[in-house]
Amino acid sequence: MSALRRIAALIVKEFVMILKDKKSRFVIIGPPLIQFFVFGYAATYDLKNVRYAVFDEARTAESRDLLARLDGSDSFERVATLSAAHQIDTMIDHQKARLVVHIGPRFSRDLYNGHPASVQVIVDGRNSNVALIAMGYIGTIVEDYNRSLVERGVLERGRAPGVTLIERAWFNANLQSRWYIVSALGGIISMVVVMILTSLSVAREREFGTFDQLLVAPFTPGEILVGKALPGMFFGLMDALLFSVGAVFWFGVPLRGSIIALLLTFICFIIAVVGVGLLVSSLAKNMQQALLGSFVFMMPAVILAGFTTPIENMPDWLQTGTLINPLRYVIVALRMIFLQGADTAAVWPQLWPLMTMAILMLPLAGWLFRHRAQ
C-alpha cells in the first residue's frame, strides 16, 4: 500500500516536472512535430521535376510523341532543348540538367524499318540513387510508348517484342516512398522523445543532487525505476500514436493492419527504449554525458534500422549486428502493420526481441541506480 503511494508520488512529481517546465513541454511537442513534417516531406526517394534536356536530331512526329510523354510526366521537367552534341557535356557537367535524352537522326527510319530505334539517355551519376530511379522512370515511359506503337499498328503484331514485362507492386501500388518513410516515423520520433526524457531525468536529478534524496528516502530501486519509466512511456506512446494518426490523415498512408498490433508494438518498443534511456541515464554523471550518450546510441540506431536504407543491402556481419537494435524491429513491424495489413501474430517475430530487450535492460538500469554511485 505505502509502496504504491510512494510510486504514485514519484509519478505525479515526474509529470508535473515535465509539464510545468516550458522547455521540457516543448521537447515533447515542438521538435517531434518539426521532425514529423520535415521527415514526411523531405525524406523521400520519389522523384519530381527531374530537370532534363533534349537533343532531338530526328525532329519527327514519333520523336516528338515520345518526348511529349516525358514532358507530360510529373517526374520530368524539360529545362533545355539542345541543338548540338557538344552542349550535352555542359548540360550535365554544370548540373543544368540531370539527364539528357538524345534521339538520333535515324530514329523514325529505324522504327518503321523494324530495327531497334535507340534513344540515348545520359544521366548525371553524382547522385547514384536519382540516376537509377530516373532511368527506371524512363524505362517505364519507353515501354508504354512501345506498347502504344503496337496498339496503333505502327509496329506489326507479329514482330512485336517477344517478351513483355508486367510489373506489379504489392502493398504500395504506386511505389510511394513517402508511405515507407512516414509509416515508420512514429517509431523514430517516439524513440527520440523517450530517450531524451528518460536519459535526462535521472541525470538531471544527479546533477541537482535530488537523486541522493530519492536513494535515501524509502524507495526501492524498483520503485524509482517504475516512477522514472512510466512518464517517459506515457509521452512516448502519446507521440507515437499522434504521429500514426498524422500519417494516416495528413500524409494519407493506409492503415491496413490491426490497431491492437500497432498498440502492442509501440508499447513493447517504448519499454525497450525506456530501458536503454535509463541505462544511459544511470551511467551518465551529468546531463551533458547523458545527452551525448543518447546521441551516440540514436545515431547508429537510426542508420542501422532500415529506416532510410534497407538492412538487406548491408553486409552480412552488419545485418547480424542490427539484431540488437530495437529500432529495427519496430520499423519492420510498423511497415508490416500499416502497409501489409499484419495482425499481432504476423508481427510476433518482431515483438519478442523487443520484449526480451526490455526484460534485460530495465533490471540492469535499476541495479545501476544504486551501485553506480562510486
Partner: protein, 375 residues
C-alpha cells in the same frame, strides 16, 4: 611592446590553451575523431542503396526450355537470389512473410506464346513497402530480361526487337555505386558536427565553468576571443575532413577527380560558415545543454535532411526547397559530390562557393558582434 607584439602574445596564449584543452578532453576527441570514423565506416561498409542478392521467388507454371532459360538468367544475376516456388500461392505466402521480396511468374503458355510469335508476358511482383528498393528490383528484373532478349537475338532464336530501345549512360559514377554518392556527402556531415556541435559546446562550457568571466577581465579584444576559438576548431575540422577523404578514397575506393587545391579552398570556406554558425549559437547561449539541443535541431538535422546528402532536394515540396537554401551543408554537399565524381567543374563550384562565402561572412560578423566583453 608594440600593439602587434601584444596581439601575437595574446593569440599565442589563447591558442595554446585551446589546443591543450582539446588534447586533454576525451569528449572533444570523441566528437572530432571517433564519431566521424564510426559514421564513415557505417556509411562506407554498412549503408548502401544498392541491392544485391535480393531473395526472389520464381514460379514456373511452364516447364519448357525457354521458361527454364528465363529462370536461369535470373539465378545467374548477382542481383538476385532465386527460390523456386511450386505455385503462385506458395510464393505469395513467402512474400507476405517477407521471406522473398519479389515474385517472377511465368504462365503455363509462356513458351507456346513465344513460339507462335505472340506476346509472352513475364509477371514481376515486388513488395512495394520500400518503394525505392522496389523500383531498383524492377529495374534489375528489366535488365535481366533485356539481356535475355539480346542473347536470343544473338543465338538467332528471335529477330531483333523493334521499337524504341533505351541506351543508358551514367556519367561520373558509371556503376551508379551509392557509396560514391554517400561518402562525399558524409564528409559534409562530419564537418558540420565539428564546426557547430563541438564549437557550441566548448564555448558554453567556458561560461558554465566560470572561466569565461576570468578571460573577459583580461585585456583580450573581441577579435582575440573569436580567432582563438575559430583557429583550433578550424584545424580540427580540416583534419576531420582530410581523414574522411583519405579513408574514403583509399579504403572505400571512392573516386576523387577534383584537385586537392579546390578541395582545401572550398572546404575551408564551408568550415568557416559552420564555425560561424556554431559560434553564433554559443555566443547567444551559455548553457551546454541548450546549446547542444539547438545545434542538433538547427545544425545537425538540417545537414542530414535538407542538404541533399541522402534525399534529393529537388523532389521535395517547394517550401522545403526554399528552406534548404539557408542550410550551409546544402551547398557543400553539391561541391563535394562534384569534386569527387566530376572534378573541378567551376561553373558548379563557384555559385555554391559564393553562397558559402556569403554565409561565412554573415555568421562570422554576427558572432563577432554578439561576442561581448560584458557578462
Amino acid at each position: 611592446m608594440t600593439s602587434g607584439a601584444l596581439f601575437r602574445m595574446r593569440m599565442r596564449g589563447i591558442l595554446r590553451k585551446e589546443i591543450l584543452q582539446i588534447r586533454r578532453d576525451p569528449s572533444s576527441i570523441a566528437l572530432a575523431i571517433f564519431l566521424p570514423m564510426v559514421l564513415l565506416f557505417l556509411f562506407g561498409y554498412g549503408v548502401s542503396l544498392d541491392a544485391e542478392n535480393v531473395p526472389l521467388a520464381v514460379v514456373l507454371d511452364d516447364h519448357a526450355g525457354p521458361a527454364r532459360d528465363v529462370a536461369a538468367r535470373f539465378s545467374g544475376s548477382r542481383y538476385f537470389d532465386i527460390h523456386l516456388a511450386t505455385s503462385l500461392d506458395e510464393a505469395q505466402r513467402w512474400l507476405d512473410a517477407r521471406q522473398v521480396e519479389g515474385i517472377v511468374h511465368l504462365q503455363d503458355d509462356f513458351s507456346a506464346r513465344l513460339a507462335t510469335g505472340q506476346v509472352a508476358p513475364v509477371q514481376v511482383i515486388v513488395n512495394g513497402v520500400d518503394a525505392n528498393r522496389a523500383r531498383l528490383i524492377q529495374g534489375y528484373a528489366r535488365g535481366v530480361l533485356q539481356k535475355w532478349g539480346a542473347l536470343r537475338q544473338a543465338r538467332g532464336e528471335a529477330a531483333a526487337a523493334p521499337g524504341v530501345r533505351v541506351v543508358q549512360r551514367i556519367w561520373f559514377n558509371e556503376g551508379a555505386v551509392s557509396r560514391n554518392f554517400l561518402v562525399p556527402g558524409l564528409i559534409t556531415l562530419i564537418m558540420t558536427l565539428i564546426g557547430i556541435l563541438l564549437t557550441a559546446l566548448v564555448v558554453a562550457r567556458e561560461w558554465e565553468r566560470g572561466t569565461m568571466e576570468a578571460l573577459l577581465v583580461t585585456p583580450v579584444r573581441r577579435i582575440d576571443l573569436l580567432l582563438g576559438k575559430v583557429l583550433p576548431y578550424f584545424i580540427l575540422g580540416m583534419l576531420g575532413m582530410g581523414l574522411s577523404v583519405g579513408v574514403g578514397v583509399t579504403l572505400f575506393e571512392v573516386p576523387f577527380r577534383g584537385s586537392i587545391g579546390a578541395l582545401l579552398l572550398l572546404s575551408s570556406i564551408f568550415m568557416m560558415a559552420s564555425l560561424g554558425f556554431g559560434l553564433l549559437i554559443s555566443a547567444a547561449i551559455r548553457i551546454q545543454f541548450v546549446a547542444a539541443q539547438i545545434s542538433i535541431v538547427a545544425g545537425f538535422l538540417p545537414a542530414i535532411f535538407l542538404s541533399g546528402l541522402l534525399f534529393d532536394l529537388e523532389s521535395t515540396p517547394r517550401p522545403i526547397q526554399i528552406m534548404s537554401h539557408i542550410v550551409p551543408a546544402r551547398y557543400f554537399v553539391e561541391i563535394s559530390h562534384t569534386l569527387f565524381m566530376a572534378g573541378d567543374v567551376w561553373p558548379v563550384l563557384l555559385p555554391n562557393a559564393a553562397a558559402l562565402t556569403g554565409m561565412a561572412a554573415l555568421f562570422m560578423t554576427l558572432a563577432y558582434r554578439k561576442i561581448s566583453k560584458r557578462l
